[in-house]
């Protein structure tokens, strides 16, 4: 008793459709620019009243987290300058996108991050200590000290580990989203990438696969105006990244990324639509990278301080949300209270750095584990060779830095 599905050869005979043809050469170039969805204005005034629907507690938690991340980023940036960690990437100016998005997703949704989404990690519960331990690479790091700082990952929080090659995560999210759909799961794969990363070939393959194969995937583009030193004008033409998405047949939103309410509402809508229609969705957030690309960057070499300040004071996600909360009476603003939050975060980061730097690195054996599911014979041999060498030249290597020593 075979379970058959009739294999229908779909053949499309040629059919003349006169409305398909034009008789003059009129090339198409400029489409109408997609507008940014916005709920509050630059001064935090509520414009789109029907989207004022986020619970007060959630809004305050989001605001607290945005302050926390800003303070943490400050301290960790400075700690790199002081040599306590080797590298760091801040997310100044972009936390409404990451925190707001993750608050609007469900905990079971898988996130495939790029590298500037500490907001996503921390909203789900990734702690300051976990961040610091990964940056230091001690034995408490969930990644076992294998990667450079900011390459976080968390199985418990359904956030796939960051990897340095750009955009590689995006088509992987298409694959994951496909699996969720064919298995009927109430889960989506949400993936982050910048406007620069969207120039990679992997972006194109991801978008095409996701729409063609109907994947439960949410594409989240942080257009923060710079890819290291490259401004958007050198990165692409056409209507930003959102302008490319409809060409794949994909539903698309462009959102004011510094407007927390717009971010939250837009992502919530997109997620519902993905589950309902079993099709991907594309969102581009227009935001601005207030800080340097990383601790290896000095952005005033390629942009003016005036430009940075214009965003910092004129279109700042924390200010806009704060003003909204104040004007709506959703938060009692109290300098003392907010300063205390920052002070607590500062102390916690410093304590984590101190504690983290006192920890040992993962064991020497952990150089060889996890290459495969088991340590295979040839790796076992190499480990033995290394042990012999380290034993013989004990004094030349910082052996006690590694947990368990030799």
């Amino acid at each position: 008793m075979k379970h058959f599905m009739r294999f229908s050869k779909i053949s499309k005979a040629f059919k003349e459709v006169p409305s398909q043809y034009v008789y003059q050469i009129n090339p198409i170039q400029n489409f109408e620019q997609i507008k940014q969805f916005r709920v509050i204005d630059l001064e935090g005034n509520l414009i789109a009243k029907e989207y004022n629907n986020i619970p007060k507690e959630t809004l305050n938690q989001i605001f607290d987290l945005m302050l926390t991340i800003e303070e943490m980023d400050n301290i960790l940036y400075m700690s790199q300058r002081q040599g306590k960690i080797s590298f760091y990437m801040t997310s100044f100016g972009e936390t409404a996108t990451t925190v707001g998005t993750t608050a609007a997703l469900q905990p079971q949704d898988f996130i495939f991050p790029q590298y500037r989404e500490q907001g996503s990690f921390m909203w789900r519960g990734f702690t300051i200590e976990q961040i610091v331990n990964q940056c230091i690479g001690n034995h408490l790091d969930g990644g076992k000290g294998r990667q450079m700082p900011v390459h976080y990952g968390s199985k418990d929080l359904n956030i796939v580990t960051v990897s340095s090659p750009l955009t590689t995560q995006v088509p992987q999210a298409s694959g994951a989203g496909y699996g969720f759909r064919v298995n009927g799961e109430n889960k989506i794969a949400a993936t982050w990438f910048g406007e620069g990363a969207a120039s990679e070939g992997d972006f194109h393959s991801a978008m095409n696969f996701a729409q063609t194969l109907k994947c439960q995937t949410l594409f989240l583009c942080r257009n923060n105006h710079y890819a290291i030193s490259t401004p958007t004008d050198d990165q692409f033409k056409g209507d930003t990244i959102a302008g490319k998405a409809p060409a794949y047949g994909m539903r698309t939103l462009k959102i004011d990324g510094n407007d927390l309410l717009a971010v939250y509402n837009g992502v919530k809508y997109a997620r519902e639509e993905i589950i309902k229609n079993k099709e991907p969705f594309f969102i581009e957030f227009i935001t601005y990278r207030i800080g340097d690309h990383s601790t290896s960057d000095h952005s005033v070499l390629y942009r003016s301080q005036e430009e940075i300040d214009s965003w910092k004071s004129g279109n700042n996600p924390i200010n806009r949300l704060g003003l909204f909360l104040k004007k709506q009476g959703l938060r009692q603003f109290n300098d003392e209270h907010d300063n205390q939050i920052r002070k607590d975060v500062k102390n916690r980061v410093i304590a984590a750095l101190k504690h983290g730097s006192e920890q040992q690195s993962p064991s020497i054996h952990d150089l060889f584990t996890d290459v495969y599911d088991e340590v295979l014979p040839h790796l076992q041999d190499q480990y033995t060779q290394l042990r012999e060498h380290l034993t013989k030249y004990k004094d030349q290597y910082p052996i006690n830095k590694f947990k368990g020593g030799l």
């Binding site: 990952g153 199985k155 298995n183």
Partner: protein, 397 residues
């Protein structure tokens, strides 16, 4: 069409099937027939057929050598049929297995996926857009969330757009995440090797690029029986595996292949012919060439031991060392260009372990360091005469 997968989510895995569960399908079937409810019967039949398939596969056997398989339940199959059979078994046994790639739906350009879309549906056996980097990444993404992704790259010559995803992502997924994540349930199948008229872009043997990448496994079968067992082992291995299928053998290689669900061990080489005087190492199509060359050498009284590497990386060094310590001479052959091919790695390894046992330098008989040619193919390939000549030189050193 009934969603195959929602049923099988409730099915136990192989190990959990008990005796009572073995008999329950028949009881439920009888009940369904007696109830005379057609839709219910249809649904029950489907469900119980799946359960029976899982029960039948209970105890998928694992072997070191194909010769250990005692089953008489066999069928004459060529290589693509054996591959097809392996894929059918896995898709049937594992509801989370998906097969995809270019032209996979209609049966594949080499017929490897023939009939599978009809049987398992388009959600599970499907065409992807024409994009190898996408196919690789899509497979990694599926595997990272627990699906068994069997990705097909139509020609090994076209695997390179996926090189970044394979080398930088698939190979390193587990390591870089501290074992929080992995894409072990990814298998990439691709065609491989000379076919007589393939020229630069339908003949390549790219195994060396991937053998240089820790975290990957690379496997090349020599015949239908090996191919089925090695493919099932590769799919079920908890690490990403690249499985190269010698396209020249799809139709030309035939054997009585066991119909059971069986696996052959990875990272184990096989001595396919015992010998005394010299060790000949190869894989895939070259095993046939080595056998032909050894027949020529036999006339001169030279007894050749032939080893099929099977798993290119990580390879079974012990079998190679045991053999060369016995014979004292070694030739390695592959179609891929000589410089930095697998021959280079195996030569270095063997001379390190067997230096004092060697009676002659280790020789590689490989493709020349040129792109794979069209009209020059007959003189490019490491054929039986070149190997025979190398055997003579080694024996007379």
């Amino acid at each position: 069409m009934i969603n195959f997968l929602t049923f099988s989510e409730n099915l136990p895995s192989n190990q959990e099937i008990s005796k009572s569960q073995f008999f329950s399908p028949f009881i439920i079937l009888i009940q369904a027939i007696l109830s005379q409810n057609k839709l219910k019967l249809h649904k029950q039949l489907n469900k119980q057929m799946q359960l029976l398939r899982r029960v039948y596969q209970f105890g998928s056997t694992k072997h070191r050598f194909a010769s250990d398989i005692t089953s008489t339940n066999r069928q004459k199959m060529n290589l693509f049929q054996a591959i097809n059979n392996a894929l059918d078994i896995e898709l049937g046994a594992n509801p989370k297995a998906l097969l995809f790639g270019e032209d996979v739906k209609f049966g594949g350009v080499f017929r490897c996926s023939q009939g599978l879309n009809e049987k398992y549906g388009t959600d599970r056996v499907f065409n992807t857009p024409l994009c190898e980097q996408g196919i690789g990444a899509f497979g990694i993404g599926l595997a990272s969330v627990g699906y068994t992704a069997i990705a097909e790259i139509q020609f090994g010559d076209y695997i390179f757009p996926a090189f970044d995803q394979i080398v930088n992502e698939a190979a390193k997924f587990r390591y870089r995440s501290g074992n929080q994540f992995n894409c072990g349930s990814l298998t990439i199948r691709s065609t491989w090797g000379a076919v007589g008229h393939g020229a630069l872009y339908h003949s390549q043997s790219p195994e060396a690029y991937f053998a240089h990448t820790p975290g990957l496994k690379v496997v090349v079968p020599r015949d239908p029986i090996q191919a089925k067992g090695l493919l099932l082992a590769s799919i079920r291995d908890k690490n990403p595996v690249i499985f190269f299928e010698p396209k020249a053998l799809y139709r030309n290689a035939e054997d009585e292949v066991p119909l059971d669900d069986y696996e052959l061990e990875l990272s184990k080489a096989e001595v396919v012919q015992q010998g005394k005087h010299i060790t000949l190492i190869g894989y895939g199509t070259s095993i046939r060439v080595l056998k032909e060359a050894s027949k020529l050498a036999e006339k001169d009284g030279v007894s050749c031991e032939i080893i099929d590497l099977q798993t290119i990386y990580p390879y079974d060094g012990q079998t190679l060392v045991d053999s060369v310590k016995k014979t004292g001479r070694c030739i390695i052959t592959h179609e891929a260009p000589q410089t930095c091919g697998m021959g280079a790695e195996l030569s270095a390894f063997i001379q390190e372990k067997c230096f004092l046992h060697l009676e002659a330098p280790i020789k590689r008989v490989a493709g020349y360091d040129t792109p794979f040619p069209l009209v020059h193919e007959p003189i490019y390939l490491p054929d039986k005469f070149k190997i025979y000549e190398a055997i003579k030189q080694s024996v007379n050193y």
